[in-house]
Amino acid sequence: MNEMVDLAIIGAGPAGMSAACAARACRLSVVLLDEQPSPGGQIYRGIAEARDDRLAAILGKDYAAGEEIYRRFVACGANYRPATTVWRIGPDGLSWISAGRSGELAARRVLVATGAMERPFPSKGWTLPGVMTAGAGQILLKASRLVADGAVFVGCGPLLYLVAHQYLNAGVTVRAILDTAPRENLLPASALLPGALRQPHYIVKGLRMIAALRRSGVRMHRNVRAVSFSGQDRLEAVHWRDRSGEYALECAEAFVHQGVIPNLNMTMSTGCRHAWDEQQLCWRPDLDALGRSSLQWLLVAGDGGGIGGARSAALSGAISALAAAHDLGRLDFTAFERESAPLIAARRRDMAVRPFLDRLYRPAQGFRIPEDEETVICRCEEVTCGDVARAVGEGCPGPNQLKSFTRAGMGPCQGRLCGHTVTETMALLSGRTPQEVGYYRIRTPIKPVTVGDIAGRIENAEQGAQHEQAAAD
């Protein structure tokens, strides 16, 4: 028979690594599978590699905080499987592929810690080579020590300013920062500031970063709207509008960002309950305070369950692992309460800054729902905003029917880069709420796999059955 573990964890970011440590402390058997070749997730990407003082100084001390979690993780005794893609999860466990090999892992509980991805930035020309997310730019810096001179940073949110700041620390020229944070956000956000000030270090860090960007003399434009990108075979210029007029700036690279959203496909594929989050303008799985989903076997920790950032992710990973240990009868209720209470309180404190940040950097509608007919919404199948509008006009009721009308969401990314835009665009066009419109029905395999990969799985299962038979004989 295939191997059976107490807890299978997917994702080696702060949530997954902390969950592994907490579960091991309760003596659960743990396998952690991760797509990347080394631990850290995206936030602590490359944390296992040696860094010299220069890169450490560029990345800053919040990044260095990942080292402690990483050190505890490698010592915790979890079975860690890097460079492994999980393409199915279910009540019995999961299916994986890794470097041409494939297999099954049976698990009593599955904890999804697949983190966040950047919100789509649907705009004219955003598919051109040279336009990439701010997170992508940061990954190239963190894990590959690569930088691009003269890039333009476009959008809003802490990550955008952080990467620009890291570029300046590295002595790399930044052509301009085009800040799209709508000024209308200031008033509603300021009402939430007192709550956020219970976690002053976030506010202080943000203010310092923005002050440093201003002092640096880098060209900055605020209240930027109507962003588009142009070029023949790759990016040549970025265009925008603000209150003083229309502008264009030549550049070879643009880093775009409108905040982050949960990386949904894995939880969506299970059929567990999800809901549209009005505060964060995204779908997220419906979870209890311990990260338990509407399915008994499935828990979700970290940003994949709603955006909270790295510290909250690490805390929620530990909380969910304790919940799993309790539910499996491996941690009695008194011990569970004693160990989880301080973590839950710490997480609540850490999350106090969120309502303010979410409101301050809430992307303007024009950056979530394209205004231009020609703007590509589905990058894979090149379905435009106009195509979606025509389908809705013809009576297409929701995202799943939109697939047959337009092929939106049917390419290799499986809706990851268009799902949120499709929900919100269809909601606006048909006068319904995003919750009423719904999301694509996500099915296994949640990552593209070859028939050979699946055949490998069947072969393995048959061999398993034969072994079992042999054992019975």
Binding site: T127, G130, S144, A170, V172, C380, E382, L417
Partner: protein, 103 residues
């Protein structure tokens, strides 16, 4: 165009990009190595033959799909370079059968 932050020296390996040999840092991320080698585009789309290059660098956008050692549809951002690796641009839809040298 992406460039190394500084010259750290270190080990290097040779990979083949569109039939041409290229020296890249050992154990580097393939998409990063291709970007700093000026490889563009990574692929063209099946729908409109539009040029694409990595957008997310974390495995969600699939715009970095390339052909590696004859296997199409590999996410370059999730691959690590190996000595002698053959990388080709993926034109339109992934080729299958003889042309794609499928397994």
């Amino acid at each position: 165009m992406f460039r190394p932050l500084d010259d750290k020296g270190g080990k290097a390996v040779a990979i083949e990009i569109e039939g041409r040999s290229q020296i890249v840092p050992a154990a580097s991320n393939l998409a990063a190595a291709l970007l700093s080698a000026g490889f563009s585009p990574f692929r063209t789309t099946p729908a409109g033959a539009a040029p694409r290059q990595p957008y997310c660098m974390m495995g969600v956008c699939f715009d970095c799909l390339v052909e590696i050692d004859g296997l199409p549809n590999r996410q370059a951002c999730l691959e690590t370079v190996r000595e002698g690796m053959h990388v080709r641009r993926q034109q339109g839809a992934a080729a299958i059968g003889e042309k794609g040298k499928a397994r």
